[in-house]
Symmetry: C2
Subunit: 367 residues, 2 copies
């Protein structure tokens, strides 16, 4: 029977790029059959109905869907009573505890000068995203406080996920014969933190991730599962610095929620545009594809948005749902279009429309 | 009488580069007379004595010094009982509430392709740096929490500082006739925050900084003080992205403590090396120069460290203490040496020693 995917285009360009991803999924040779459920979410939906994430959307995702795709959400920059980011809520409600963001340059494009081939594994449920904030009036004005929560449980499971991603990348490299320059040719996990200042919270993140590796190394009977993976660490400030100076040294980077948010946007600058960077929000059994870019209100509705981030996110979703072959076909079709350079959208300094870029990818797919 | 500066080389390369800054201060034509007090601080001092920042250092700074210079501190990545970062403490003890970090490329060097001429004004006393952390044992393991504090008072004064820096830059540009490409030719303050997630804390930061500008605009009797400064804002994730894509659009960026830490390291990557980025920790009447780089244990003691960040920090200190002319001479001497490219340290792909680089700067100064 068909695989059912919940589709939440949400706001802005999400509404233009998510349908592209849907058509690519429908037309990829060798992909399973899909059924798509259009589900409501987003700031505009909130403005119309008072809810940014209707109960019905959550119910349908939990009870009727095998996976999901999310577009992008517009964020009010001021506090709006009753509004809470639907994407942050979805990650928690569905316990999609890992946000996996590959940032990979394409050889043969003008952006391959600094070689980037890294996956950011972002913890997706806690840190400052627990959104526990208070404010009090004092004689000196308002004083606001937010809680940043880091737990051993969440840090351990994200650590494990990072090592698994490193293994999967390693075996993919061996299978496809792909080689990368720099250290990234060896499987490595870099733990990103700021434990020199946050010795308790980031200290716990750091030791929990390290413990995954160290326990594995101590496990009885021969070399551990991660014996061929190395591990190092980087303070978040110097992580951003080194990411720009020598991106090729990073393979898998694991980070608490907010650092992961920041460094993945930073890494995106190295591959030409946020418009090409994909992610999958991963739980143990449920997955949700999501482009890393925002809703880009300035270009929404103009057929200018880059559909590649969404299309790659659909492929990531396929890969995580257990269909690597059609996923690889999509990755390759996208790379071909990027390399050819004829149907690039304005963010990549091209003049193609969203539609033309999508069509070029469908054509490269042999669809 | 002479100006008394407290010198805290602290750890690692701080001990090599701070003496360079001292010699430059002593030999800059037109600079005031200085007296230097060597003061203890740092992780090594902690290991020897149990204190990373002796009371005597704080007393001497408060009672005997007109200003200070700090080198760099080694950070244990694990929690060390009784240790607390001396630089974080100094900023608070002396109420140096603004960390001002100019990141400025030098025309005519190979790093001027992406034009960067920005000043990051980092709040220096609160955010996650209040270091209020707890941890509890639960059936599911440790759960750690940190408080992130943002107050109206601290946000307002850092906002005001940012607008003042923008004005000062504008008048300096007019005086020296220097022009920069891009929007940075107009005075602008960009407020960096993440209020789409942290609507209370970052919401307060955002509205407090904006209020400085808006109140000024409403102030009676003609145009306000900041009438020629524009203001915009940027979410911290997209800030890092745009910093790399189009750094020239940023003039002054004002940010809460941790975001400021991260984006200034990011910006440093755009000017060739962290080894050239200076900062001054500024209160209302006391100032402390500090290179942005760390203690670099891997190269410490080898006469390889870049002294430029410290030398520029000394010039910044002079500028903030009210001596712009000798400060400008130092900036110019450093720019000359960077442009000539003959005496660059290894971080800038040169082969000069710390000493040779310092000597070249002293020579360019006509010292
Ligand atoms: C829209 C926002 C809440 C979100 C985040 O901060 O996680 C976005 O920046 C992302 O990276 O998915
Ligand atoms: C050493 C560390 C505590 C410090 C900070 O985080 O402020 C450093 O990174 C800096 O930027 O001055």
């Amino acid at each position: 029977s068909a695989i059912r995917l919940g589709m939440m285009p949400a706001d802005g360009i999400g509404r233009e790029v998510l349908p592209c991803a849907q058509r690519v999924l429908q037309n990829t040779p060798g992909a399973p059959k899909f059924e798509f459920l259009q589900l409501a979410a987003g700031f505009e939906h909130f403005q119309k109905t008072g809810s940014a994430l209707p109960d019905e959307t959550i119910r349908a995702l939990k009870e009727e869907c095998d996976g999901a795709m999310f577009g992008s959400v517009s964020s009010p920059s001021h506090k709006v009573e009753g509004y809470s980011s639907p994407i942050v809520r979805l990650r928690k409600e569905l316990d999609l505890y890992a946000n996996i963001r590959p940032v990979i340059g394409v050889r043969g494009t003008k952006d391959d000068e600094k070689w980037v081939d890294t996956v950011i594994v972002r913890e997706n449920t806690e840190c400052l995203y627990v959104k526990s904030e208070t404010s009090e009036s004092t004689p000196e004005g308002q004083v606001a406080r937010a809680i940043r929560q880091i737990s051993e449980k969440a840090s351990t499971r994200i650590g494990r996920k990072a090592f698994e991603v490193a293994l999967a990348r390693q075996s993919m490299r061996e299978k496809t014969g792909a080689t990368t320059s720099g250290n990234a040719a060896t499987a490595k996990v870099t733990v990103c933190h700021k434990s020199n200042v946050l010795s308790v919270t980031d200290g716990l993140f750091r030791t929990s991730v390290r413990a995954v590796y160290e326990k594995d190394a101590r496990s009885a009977g021969g070399p551990g599962r991660y014996a061929n993976v190395t591990m190092d660490e980087q303070l978040v400030d110097s992580m951003v610095y080194r990411l720009f100076r020598e991106p090729h040294v990073f393979d898998v980077v694991v980070a608490p929620n907010l650092y992961g948010d920041i460094i993945s946007d930073g890494a995106a600058a190295l591959v030409g545009s946020l418009g090409v960077v994909a992610s999958v929000n991963a739980g143990d059994t449920f997955f949700m594809g999501e482009p890393v870019h925002g809703s880009a209100p300035d270009i929404a509705g103009q057929n200018k948005a880059n559909p590649i981030a969404s299309i790659r996110s659909a492929a990531l979703l396929l890969e995580y749902m257990g269909y690597p072959e059609p996923a690889l076909k999509i990755y390759k079709a996208v790379d071909d279009v990027l390399r050819e350079g004829k149907y690039l959208t304005p963010d990549l300094h091209g003049s193609a429309t969203t539609t033309q870029c999508e069509e070029a990818i469908l054509k490269a797919l042999g669809a």
